[in-house]
Symmetry: C2
Subunit: 260 residues, 2 copies
């Protein structure tokens, strides 16, 4: 593995639920030598991507904000995503989130909580999602490049709960059903007691780049709520693809229209 990749792995260890990390912890988490981590951090620090607190712990630095500003000016995405997710959370009364494919991973890009409920599905600790154990992941797999699908199904499919789909054959069946209905539906595959629904998102070349989803506590799910969520997801996907110039495949649009 290249040196640069190692440095970037370090950056990925920071998250909302773990925003500051010490040198030794960082080395342990990354599975790297402490000296290596230290040297990498010094370079990241010089570039402002990382900074040190008074307690010597490391955290992401101010440079990431500048880069994000440039990215947003280049491809405005966050803004429309925020608006749509906010709307989705408000109309469904549940947690909405949007995740993107990044290489072989599925990374949560943004999310919004409903103000209404005391309990809701939290996203702070779910910044990287498994393909096989989430409705988001299944929605993406169903419409993604077959090569990605094959790689994921060939890889390890750990059971995160007793409900997690782990059999490649079973998963392929589910993907066929998702293609037929236009949305993914999974109960308790990632966390017990979470029911989530997802629809895929596409870029300008009609390639599947992620999915938007709504997650609810299973106890609260009803047929009526489920219907509301599915329709809201269709609308959200339309708005998102329109907002950043993505292209919704014709046949999928038809499936959605028929479902409503």
């Amino acid at each position: 593995m290249g040196t640069v990749s190692k440095a970037l792995i370090l950056l990925d260890l920071f998250s909302r639920s773990r925003p500051e990390i010490g040198l030794s912890d960082l080395a342990r988490l990354a599975g790297m030598n402490k000296a290596t981590v230290y040297r990498l951090l010094r370079e990241l620090q010089a570039a402002g991507l990382v900074e040190q607190t008074e307690a010597k712990a490391y955290r992401l630095g101010p440079s990431v904000l500048r880069l994000a500003g440039v990215r947003e000016a280049t491809v405005p995405m966050r803004e429309v995503a925020r608006r749509v997710l906010r709307d989705l959370a408000d109309t469904t009364g549940e947690t909405a989130h949007l995740s993107q494919v990044q290489g072989e991973r599925l990374v949560t890009f943004d999310y919004a909580y409903a103000p209404a409920h005391g309990t809701s599905v939290r996203m702070e600790d779910a910044e990287v999602l498994p393909f096989h154990a989430t409705s988001t992941g299944l929605a993406v797999l169903a419409f993604a490049d077959p090569a990605l699908r094959a790689r994921v199904l060939a890889g390890p499919l750990p059971a995160l709960t007793p409900e997690t789909p782990t059999d490649p054959g079973d998963i392929r069946d589910r993907l066929a059903r998702i293609r037929a209905t236009g949305f993914a539906d999974l109960v308790g595959g990632f966390e017990a007691d979470v029911h989530s629904l997802a629809v895929p998102l596409f870029d300008a070349a009609a390639a599947c780049i992620g999915a938007v989803a709504v997650a609810t506590p299973t106890a609260r799910m009803t047929p009526v709520l489920r219907g509301l969520i599915v329709v809201s997801l269709f609308n959200a996907a339309h708005a998102l693809c329109a907002g950043w110039g993505g292209f919704l495949p014709e046949d999928l649009q038809k499936v959605w229209a028929d479902a409503v």
Copy 2:
């Protein structure tokens, strides 16, 4: 120089005014070998920090947004900065911007334009500012760690315009005056016909970490406007330091209070 630093230099080449860059251009701009740049880009791409357009050009990738989200959740800064700069631009009717010290550089963090005028000072091409040729830089130098001051004054001080201060002795005099008045004032040092005023900003440890400034076309500057801008800058600095837990040195607060 380390490999990681080279990769990060590549990231820094992207800006609002140059958001997409081809491989050869990138190699030329960075002064590196094309093969090297290509390899670095592939690693950056794998991490999602960079992506390729259909035309094979490179641009910043979606990962920077996730990192920025984490950073903002850790140290909320952008939000308060945006609000204060917006306010500053509105009340003065001129361009406001905030820049931060990052290592030996001065990097523009955010800016806001006044809606009023047809002409205004643009910031798109001024993402990295020289210390000696801007009011922002002088404000920072005046209150920064003496070591940084010494390094900057010992380094090259290129004249960007005929008005750029280039003599270390002259600059030291200016810095003394800035400490006495509490703000920096420079006419045409960075670009001809731009008059800019700046005040320093401090972190929780009372270290100078940047400056907030207002830039106007020289033709429009009047004593009245200048007074308005200076007072607005004092207020903005107060709001900013309060907003992110920074500490304004007592003596500087006194200087500002006396000046009003």
